[in-house]
Every structure is written in structure tokens, then in C-alpha cells.
């Protein structure tokens, strides 16, 4: 088992090096990526500044928390990018591209993730996010307790893993359905809620975005913990338990879907 894990860790590092090598081949891609992140970050901040030009707060959310929310969202998305292979999995299933992974001595799920890794984009997103969080804390003088920051980021990681496994399960439906664009499109529509404070929404929608499609767990709640709005240990524990339960649920769902799907895999296209 240790040999297996060590091998896959080495492979992960090898794939990261390959990703850097691709940027060496296409240096303009690196520059345009950087411009994209800077532009997107500036637009997010300007958007909230514009929203709060005439108002000081919406509900419990003032501009400082919303900028912080933007930063947390970037961190979460940077982590999510590591698993982009799941997003592109339906195409691989449909075109028979899993053949390559199934006939080599490597874990096919790990290979799917590693082969689509875009570490430059992931690091850029996470660095941008942490920079926005730090800048907001300094500019708006938000006292940040390190323990809160650690707990908030920890819950964000858990929440992201829930979404990753959910994506994996959705993508596995391609073993049966072939094309999954419509289901994926419906899931993608909810991504926008990552950047808005979900505690402001009506209770039904809030419940849906916390317990069913847990967008609230990857930005809103971690942000509230980092800024110190959720201090009670009981509530923090409650969020952690929800996340762990969802993680377990989606891990089982993904595992079952993958095992059944791979038995059904048709390896079409040659």
C-alpha cells in the first residue's frame, strides 16, 4: 500500500512537471492566464465596491466580508481545478479514451485527475485568493484569528472535496447516458452561488445550497468563520459534520458509479 501511494505521489509530481513543461512550450498561454486572473479579480472587487457605493451593508454582509468572500471563492476554485479531470471525464468515456489508463499499472481515477492537472492555473487561483483575503484583512482592518483561518480553510477544502466527488458521480453517468451536457449544465448553473452570500437567500434555497448542492460550504460558511462571525464551536462542528456526512455520501456514490460504470465501459472509437 505504501509503495502504491508513493508511486502515485511521484506520478502526481511528474504530471505537475509535465504541466509546467507545457507552459514552457506555450509561454503566451502563461501570460494570458495571468492577465485573466488579474482581470477577474479586479472585476469582482470593483463589482462589490459598486454595489456598496450607496449602501453600507446587505443584511449581515458589508463590503469587507464580500471582498473576503471573493478571496475564499478563488482559493476554493484553485483547489477544485486540481480535479478538472473529472469534469472532462464524460468525453473520455464516450470516445474510449480510458483505454490508456485501464491498460497501464496505475490507478485509473488518479490518472484521470493527474492527466488534466493544470497546476499553474490552480496556483494562480489560490495565490490570488489568499492575496485578496490578506489584502481585505489589512485594508478593512478585519482582525483575523489564525485558528479561525485554519478552520475556515479546512472546511473549504472539505466542501471542495464534496463538490469534486459530486462532479465525479455526475461524470460517471456518461457510462450509461453517453452525453451528459444537460445534467452538467444544470450543475454548472449553481456555480454562480459560490460568489454570493448564501445566508441572504430564502430558507428553502439556503437549505438546497447547503445540504443538497453544498455551494455554501465552499465560500460562504468558511468566510464567516474566517472573519469571526461564526465563533460558536457548536455551529462550526455542525458545519463540519454536515460536510463529513456529505463527503461520505458522495464518496460512496462516486465509488459505486465508477465500479459499475467501468464494467459497462464500451471502449468505443477504435
Amino acid at each position: 500500500m505504501i509503495r502504491y501511494l508513493r508511486k502515485h505521489l511521484k506520478l502526481y509530481i511528474r504530471y505537475i512537471r509535465l504541466d509546467f513543461r507545457i507552459y514552457q512550450q506555450y509561454w503566451s498561454y502563461l501570460v494570458s492566464s495571468f492577465i485573466q486572473y488579474v482581470t477577474f479579480t479586479v472585476i469582482s472587487v470593483v463589482f462589490w465596491q459598486a454595489v456598496f457605493f450607496n449602501v453600507t451593508a446587505i443584511g449581515d454582509w458589508d463590503v469587507s466580508k464580500l471582498v473576503m468572500l471573493s478571496g475564499m471563492m478563488f482559493v476554493g476554485f484553485g483547489l477544485y481545478i486540481h480535479f478538472w479531470g473529472f469534469y472532462n471525464l464524460p468525453g473520455k468515456i464516450r470516445q474510449g479514451d480510458l483505454d490508456l489508463y485501464l491498460s497501464r499499472p496505475l490507478n485509473p481515477v488518479a490518472a484521470i485527475i493527474f492527466s488534466e492537472i493544470n497546476v499553474v492555473a490552480a496556483i494562480s487561483e489560490m495565490t490570488t485568493g489568499l492575496a485578496v483575503v490578506a489584502s481585505a484583512a489589512i485594508y478593512y482592518r478585519i482582525p483575523i484569528i489564525l485558528a479561525n483561518l485554519a478552520i475556515g480553510l479546512g472546511l473549504l477544502v472539505l466542501g471542495d472535496l464534496v463538490l469534486v466527488l459530486m462532479q465525479g458521480a455526475i461524470s460517471c453517468s456518461a457510462f450509461w447516458l453517453g452525453k451528459t451536457g444537460i445534467i452538467q449544465g444544470m450543475r454548472d448553473l449553481l456555480d454562480d452561488f459560490e460568489r454570493f452570500p448564501i445566508t441572504l437567500l430564502p430558507s428553502g434555497l439556503r437549505f438546497f445550497l447547503t445540504y443538497i448542492i453544498p455551494m455554501a460550504l465552499v465560500a460562504t460558511y468558511p468566510t464567516l468563520i474566517v472573519v469571526g462571525d461564526i465563533e460558536a464551536l457548536q455551529i462550526t462542528l455542525q458545519i463540519a459534520i454536515i460536510e463529513l456526512a456529505l463527503l461520505l455520501l458522495w464518496a460512496v456514490a462516486f465509488s459505486k458509479a465508477w465500479s459499475a460504470g467501468i464494467r459497462r465501459y464500451g471502449s468505443f472509437g477504435g
Binding site: K7, K10, L11, R14, Y15, L18, R21, I22, Q25, Y26, G96, D97, L98, D99, L100, L102, S103, R104, P105, L106, N107, P108, I262, R263, R264, Y265, G266, S267, G269, G270
Partner: protein
């Protein structure tokens, strides 16, 4: 099943469902069962080189995918080197080399060497093993000038050579090749055939090859298995196939002048003329049609012959006959 065998297949079935032909545009979503592989059985000993032949859609690639663990069989048994491929994929994959003609093995955007290093890591080769094998394969396949070029800039044939290196680097016990020689020129084909013969002879590697190029079969394979519509229709040695199923002999001759046309026509009366007129002639004689020497004598007496050869049917023709008839 016996562990000493390289491959043991028994009553193997792979079934899919496929759309029924539609007569009306509104009738859709109707499927019918279809057996791509229909109860095949065969054993292959270690060190054998086997050609697996069949027309398009016969189930050759499906068989290779079942043998390599890519596909899960619908029913039946398959065991390779003592492993059940679809159940023990990870351990099993260390022992096999797979070349699938339609699948890209190399990283499109990167120099070839980067992909080969990745494969070395996947197969857990030490740096020394990697360098030794790379040197050997580079020499045999002529890769020295290709290693530092991004894959996207290589020709199809150059890419194939690099893919061979990626698949053979870990010294597999069995090589599965599905149409490996597509798009290769004659010289590269010859190099690769020699490489395959050498690894078979020196390392005892078992070779399982699908191809439409009968040159590959004649040069590499001791045994052929012919598949048609998912069923094995022939399994035996290549010489036996030729002697048993060669229904024709071919007489090819080149003439500078025809001295007596009516004599020539009489000589060729029992033959089917494939090519006639001009300098080059080709005639097919049913194997049971009578003595060839009399026909040859008639040709020699009626024409000024520059060159003449008699040979049994080409392998392509024998195989095509078997494909057409469904069974030999």
C-alpha cells in the same frame, strides 16, 4: 485453467446493444442485442507469435481489449499469465505491452522524451534501466533525432515508432498489438518486425497481433487465429492454412512476344485469367485442375518468355476466401 499458458480463453462473450435500423424517423431509442465476441475459445503458449485476423468488425479489437483488461466480458473465462485481466488490472498491467493503433500514447504538446520518462515512472523503472532501454530502443527504432521534438510535430510513422518504444520499455511478457503498422513505410515496418522477432526470440515474449497486412503475418506469426462475426473460424499454423485452404495456384509470366496464340489459349484453357494482354500475364489454376507442368510447357512453347513463376495463392486470397465463405 492452466497457469503455464500465456493466454487461456474459454467460451468468451462480449455483448453490446446497438440501435435497431430505423424505418421511420420517430422510431428511436430501440435497441437489439449484439454479440461482438460470440463464445470464442483458444489457448496460447508462452513465447508464441499469433496473428489474429478477421475482416472489419469481426471482433479483433474487442478481443484485445478483453485480453488487456480494458473491457469486462459478458460471460466466459479469460486468463492471461495467470491473471484475470479485468479483475486484476493493476498487477497484470506490469506484464503486458499494449499498442492500440487508434489511441495516442504520447503527450501531444511535449517532446517525446517527456512521455517516455512518464512511462518509465508508471512502470517503476530505475533511471539506469530507463537509460539502457531507451538507448537500445532508440537504436533499433531510429529515435535519436525524435526524442526532443514535440509529438505534435512528428509524422504518423514517427509517432508510431515512439509509441513502440513507450510500450516495450518495461520488457513486457506479452505484447498485444492492434493494427500496429498502420501508416508505416516499408523500412520502418522491417525494423519493427525485426524488433518483434528479436524480443520474441531473446526474451521469450509472447506476441498477439491483429493486422490487415499479410506481410506482418507471414514474417512474424507461427500461428493464425481467424475470426469472423465474433466466432473463431480457423485456429492453426500458417503452413497448414496455406496447404489446406490454398484453392488456387498462380502462374505469373512475362513475355516479349507470343509466337502461337491458339497454343497459348489451349495451354491456359483450365485457368482463370487474372491479367492478360501486353507483356505481363497472370493466371490462376484450381489446385485440383491437373498438372501444372503441362500448362507451363504450353506457355513456354507458345511464347518468348522472359520470366515465369508458379506459386500457391497469396495469403490475402486465402484469407479473403475464408472471410467470404464464413468458414474454411
Amino acid at each position: 485453467m492452466c497457469i503455464m499458458k500465456a493466454i487461456a480463453v474459454k467460451e468468451l462473450v462480449k455483448a453490446y446493444r446497438r440501435p435497431k435500423p430505423k424505418r421511420h424517423w420517430y422510431k428511436w431509442g430501440q435497441y437489439e442485442p449484439f454479440r461482438a465476441i460470440d463464445g470464442i475459445s483458444f489457448d496460447i503458449e508462452r513465447g508464441e507469435m499469433v496473428g489474429y485476423l478477421g475482416p472489419n468488425g469481426a471482433g479483433k479489437s474487442t478481443t484485445i481489449k478483453l485480453l488487456t483488461g480494458i473491457l469486462t466480458p459478458t460471460s466466459g473465462q479469460v486468463e492471461v499469465l495467470g491473471y484475470v485481466p479485468y479483475q486484476q488490472r493493476y498487477e497484470y498491467a506490469y506484464h503486458i505491452g499494449v499498442i492500440l493503433g487508434q489511441r495516442e500514447l504520447l503527450w501531444w504538446d511535449l517532446p517525446v522524451l517527456d512521455s517516455l520518462r512518464l512511462y518509465a515512472e508508471i512502470y517503476e523503472l530505475t533511471m539506469e534501466e530507463f537509460e539502457n532501454r531507451l538507448e537500445l530502443l532508440s537504436e533499433v527504432l531510429g529515435l535519436e533525432d525524435l526524442l526532443y521534438i514535440p509529438v505534435r510535430q512528428l509524422s504518423l510513422g514517427q509517432k508510431k515508432r515512439c509509441e513502440f518504444a513507450a510500450s516495450l520499455m518495461h520488457k513486457p511478457d506479452i505484447i498485444f498489438m492492434d493494427e500496429p503498422m498502420i501508416a508505416l513505410d516499408v523500412l520502418v515496418k522491417e525494423r519493427i518486425r525485426k524488433l518483434i522477432r528479436d524480443v520474441n526470440k531473446l526474451l521469450g515474449t509472447t506476441v498477439f497481433l491483429t493486422t490487415h497486412d499479410m506481410g506482418d503475418v507471414e514474417e512474424l506469426c507461427d500461428r493464425v487465429i481467424i475470426l469472423n462475426e465474433g466466432k473463431v473460424v480457423y485456429d492453426g499454423s500458417l503452413p497448414r492454412l496455406k496447404s489446406k485452404y490454398a484453392r488456387w495456384k498462380t502462374i505469373e509470366f512475362e513475355v516479349s512476344a507470343i509466337r502461337d496464340r491458339s497454343m497459348l489459349d489451349r495451354a491456359l484453357a483450365s485457368c482463370e485469367i487474372v491479367r492478360a494482354g501486353g507483356a505481363n500475364w497472370e493466371a490462376r489454376v484450381p489446385s485440383d485442375a491437373g498438372p501444372i507442368p503441362q500448362i507451363v510447357e504450353g506457355i513456354l512453347n507458345s511464347c518468348a518468355v522472359v520470366d515465369l513463376s508458379v506459386h500457391t495463392s497469396k495469403l490475402e486470397l486465402i484469407i479473403a476466401d475464408i472471410f467470404r465463405s464464413g468458414a474454411p
